[in-house]
Subunit: 587 residues, 2 copies
Amino acid sequence: MTALDNIQTNNEPRIRRFKKSIKKVCSKKVIERKLPLIQWLPKYSVGALIQDIIAGITVGLTAIPQGIANALIAGLSPEYGLNAGLLGGFVYVIFGSVKDITVGPTAIIAAMISQYVDYSPDFAVLATFLAGLVEFLMGAFNFGFLVEFISMPVISGFSTAAALQIAASQFKSLFGLQGSSGNYFAQSIVYFFENVKTARLWDPVLGFGTIFGIMLLKCIGQGCSNTGGILQKTRWYLSLSRNAVVVVIGIIIAFVIKQITDEEPLILVGAINRGLPIPGLPPFSTTVGNDTYSFTDMLGVFGPKSFIIPLVSTLEAVAIAKAFSNGLQVDSNQEMIALGLCNIASSCVNSMPITGSFTKTALNNASGVRTTAGGIFNCLLVILSLTTLTTTFYYIPKASLAGLVISAMFAMVDYKIFGKLWRHSKRELCVLVTTLGVCLGVGLEYGIVTGVLFDALIVLYGKARPTVDFYVLKIATADLIIVPLNYTMSYCASEQIRKTILRAARTVATDSYIVIDGTNLENIDLTVASNLMSVAGDVEKRTCPVLFLNFDESIKYLCVDIKPQLRSKFVSTTNVSDTVDVYLKCA
Amino acid sequence: MTALDNIQTNNEPRIRRFKKSIKKVCSKKVIERKLPLIQWLPKYSVGALIQDIIAGITVGLTAIPQGIANALIAGLSPEYGLNAGLLGGFVYVIFGSVKDITVGPTAIIAAMISQYVDYSPDFAVLATFLAGLVEFLMGAFNFGFLVEFISMPVISGFSTAAALQIAASQFKSLFGLQGSSGNYFAQSIVYFFENVKTARLWDPVLGFGTIFGIMLLKCIGQGCSNTGGILQKTRWYLSLSRNAVVVVIGIIIAFVIKQITDEEPLILVGAINRGLPIPGLPPFSTTVGNDTYSFTDMLGVFGPKSFIIPLVSTLEAVAIAKAFSNGLQVDSNQEMIALGLCNIASSCVNSMPITGSFTKTALNNASGVRTTAGGIFNCLLVILSLTTLTTTFYYIPKASLAGLVISAMFAMVDYKIFGKLWRHSKRELCVLVTTLGVCLGVGLEYGIVTGVLFDALIVLYGKARPTVDFYVLKIATADLIIVPLNYTMSYCASEQIRKTILRAARTVATDSYIVIDGTNLENIDLTVASNLMSVAGDVEKRTCPVLFLNFDESIKYLCVDIKPQLRSKFVSTTNVSDTVDVYLKCA
């Protein structure tokens, strides 16, 4: 009976613990965190609805031309960019936690997938699915902290390089050139100069006109708000929807020329399939020319970069979330889950990858959005355009879109950080410049990895060169050469410690003891412990006795396990100068 | 004239400084460090010469069969392994700093280059040159510290995996199998079971006999030394040269069988080109089948791994140098320079990469070597064998070499570390097991990179999660919520700091101040500073004033540069409770 009793008493708390953890997982607070929708939906008002509708439509007016432009950056046909606006908003309403964030295709991610699109557009859709899966898993398993290892200089170098690369890749459309637009900045520039002889006349005229128009409309709206008079309100709204305005003007110009002269002096976006895409699984295999790529072949094409795209995508979203969180806590894991589900859903409707978009989020905020529901109206506008406006989109001049994209890039370059780092930290400037250089010269994904590793190496180097030194304490009977070890010592510091002890040993006179003072030592690892024991053994053999003072029991246990013959050298005393006496008494 | 004066007074110290640095570079001490030869050569004696000759020949007896065996591990013909013994010893005499170190091909490096040899043996020679170049440059630019970032668990996991992989790759020769031997452990094992039906009879018999013979000869020598009687001396020498003994026995068996039966029941090493290689530049281009590989194509084949081979090679050499330095300081940069030059020289005589070899170095030490000159006699023996013994080498049975290699691998596996880490640090055990697993399942180079990154992530995670907390100090007029920041805070800690401040802000009552106490803060970087200013701005807007106490001038300067409107919030006072009073007085 006792055995049974035991089992029961052992099991009861386990069941209770299980129930507790179930309760914890299902608690209202957790559910609210995982489904932010149920926090705000009960309080949702008509006023909020109207504001969300206005914001959603304003954002949609930018999202449609930007979606087409981003698809063209990736080298995809425009549908992939428009499809990207179909489901993301709906999914984000349920799982997203920051009201201003608008998901959609971004120029950076478009630039990063362009090299795979050269194989087949199916790679772009699979990238959407993979990005979604990785983001979801990272969020679900609390790997959101990974973005904390990307420092500001790296982010800044990366986004400046991305802006330059995206702008450079648009030169092809801006000048109406033939040939490829290149996969990274240096290549784009080389291709531009190789093909510049094929430049056309009217495309650059319209392109630069678009850039000028956007700058003008931006200036018009300055100082205006939607609370002023009718003129102020019009200027404000015109400025907010400037992206749509310039594209509409481009469409009208192209359309009118076509009607009058039956010619197309501008390169146009061209035919877009009308109607909504048929939902289906993402393409887990594809055909390129005569080769069939299985799922694993496709994964092989992505290689380790299939991890970098989701990371950058998360980084964009988390950075934007922080910028618009207004000092509220951002749950980056929840954002990753939301983003992951948005991408997984989108990959079923032939979409390119999506993430939080800075321009659209800022526009959403400026338009006074109240909840994430704004995204729904943005999506509805995309659906409307896909079903009714595709013939209109035929006339969008590619140069207009190029002008639109290049204008957006001005804001992405952070000029100020260079001065700040020059004044305060040349080392961080070095990280920034390295990241920027590798991004521009080799590719964005290589640049960000280089930057992260560079930063990590700096931190590691700091850990590898702790302040370790020694001092001499003369007592009546002997000289004590004391080497204090502090805090936690990691493997990379072991060489520094070894060198210090050897340096201390070189100062030894007769009747000396080397005392390794571990009073303030919190922890060491195997590498440090082994090195310590090895150098202590060497010094004992060649010069003088080595004593270990006030080592923590667990550290002592590790050291003695490595070199049992030094067991007697571990001494504990509150007074450093007593070390030798205590040692001799025990020995 | 004043301008000229200025230039002169500015220039003079510059010239003096330049002269000083020239003097520093050319000082006797530096030259002695860079050319250790001139330290010991003047004191060289006949006694030392005799000891070096004995040691050199003993090592040579092992180096010759091991060189052939290592060439076979890499999938090369035996010459490449023998050529590796030609120049290394001579160069190391001039530049090497540790008397016991013997350079030569090692099994680990052989295993790492085997995948490139599948293209063409020229890749092995180019690998030698590249390894030499990278090692030399790393040494010359003081990058020797890089090996400090490889912790003991990673080294242990890597070398255990290397031993297992090398042993597994020898199963083919041990059993006389057909087919490939595989490029990494898992593959070798799969290939072994696929081809095990092709196993021959006499090869495994001789192979296991060789292993048994080596174990026996090792036991024979235990407890003996070269100071005892003639029997002791013979046993000691027989045991030291056991590698040569078993191979000679193998040769005799194969030769006798051939003479008597005119059959070759054992797979033999076969024809080796007689004579010394003609020195020339390493192959900077090569032909594989019908394809010509230019230098850049060849570099492309190596990829980033062209950096890992030199690193591992250096690691082996530095680890061995430390083990045999007897408590003297090891200059790892000098070791890298020496090793680099050895490899560059060797690459001109069709050699595979070389580095410090543990077995040969231990043997050298046991044979009582006195200076690095021992290496010369080892080289002379290799030259002799290449010019006269190639017909003898024809009869070396591959199974004998396989037995030799497998025996050497037993010593490379560090069993004890598993128990130590289990008892003391499960986290480090995790690093070890991960490194081991990736090395075995994917490849040695991937495993070591994974291990290094895993370790780095653990250190970074520690830096990302510093102990940051807050406490409340009630003074007469208000509540002070104090957040102390200590030591140096790096970018990865910024999120932790931000979270703590937001958590502190949630406890705010009326009349509260949040005080960020920087009294013990040594330094922060741009990421932390920006995050601090951004969260402080948000908290100021939403809840209560934020004050910065006792920030170092340079940190304050950085913070104010980021957010000038918070300038007035920086307060200095020795007494924390005076913070608000001081702030109000200034404001």
